[in-house]
């Protein structure tokens, strides 16, 4: 079926240039979560839509050879564990669960406000991997008829 081979040459060339800008925009929203609106959740969805752009333009078989889907599932599961580990680390430095134990820094700077940027990065990675794996499973389910993987 032609679905597996992706779209025309124009779409592939434009995607090859513009998908990196989408990834840059997603990483910008995640990193500046404590200064401007956005944060981990919004940036994670933008990254997942960037991966979906590649999958639509180049076809499912190309993405299977280029990305490692099992590694994505493992990264998603380990991010949730790292969130919990950071919380217990905060408890061991005095204070309650998930306390802010790094230095506060000055206001309006990029590296400030303790553990908040680290938690934003963890959440953003987790959400993007989770959403892309669900979309990939839905795509596999339909093209191979009958639901076998």
């Amino acid at each position: 079926m032609k679905q597996n081979e992706g779209m025309t040459l124009i779409v592939k060339t434009v995607t090859r240039v513009s998908v990196w800008l989408i990834f840059l925009y997603g990483i910008y929203i995640i990193l500046h979560g404590h200064l401007t609106p956005g944060g981990g959740f919004a940036g994670g969805v933008v990254l997942a839509l960037g991966f979906l752009n590649i999958m639509l333009a180049y076809g499912r078989k190309y993405v299977e050879g280029w990305l490692n889907i099992k590694l994505m599932k493992d990264i998603e599961s380990s991010m949730a564990t790292l969130f919990l580990a950071l919380g217990i680390l905060g408890m061991s430095f005095g204070g309650g669960l998930l306390a802010n134990f790094l230095s506060k820094g000055e206001l309006f700077r990029l590296l400030s406000s303790g553990t908040i940027p680290i938690l934003n990065i963890l959440i953003g990675t987790k959400v993007s991997m989770a959403l892309f794996v669900v979309i990939y499973s839905l795509a596999v389910l339909h093209i191979v008829k009958g639901g076998e993987k």
Binding site: T36, P37, F41, L107, F108, V134, L141, G147
Partner: protein, 117 residues
Amino acid sequence: MTVYLLCFALLLVGVYGVLTKRDLIKIILSLGIMGYATNLMIILFAYKNGAIYAILTKANSLNGKPTGPMVDPLPQALILTSIVIELGITAMLVAMSIRLYEKYKTFDITKIRRLSG
């Protein structure tokens, strides 16, 4: 007060969809409508007349404290969590309804109830 009543009417449209439709996809869409109406209602409680969004910049803060009224940030933090969970619920409902279609070959909930096993 008119705004609150219109949002409640949107919630009741969602309840009408869940009660009377026999098509599984329309029921999933009605659950989505009820989720949107609930989130909007709680943010309507948090608006202050003539206030600005709750982000400090160099222009509207003095020494770390805001100068001028700001909207209520606490309901916004709670609804952020709720929007993310709604997506997870929708994804799981869609997966279950695909399985039901492959087993019973229909989306009609009256037929799914009558066939057993």
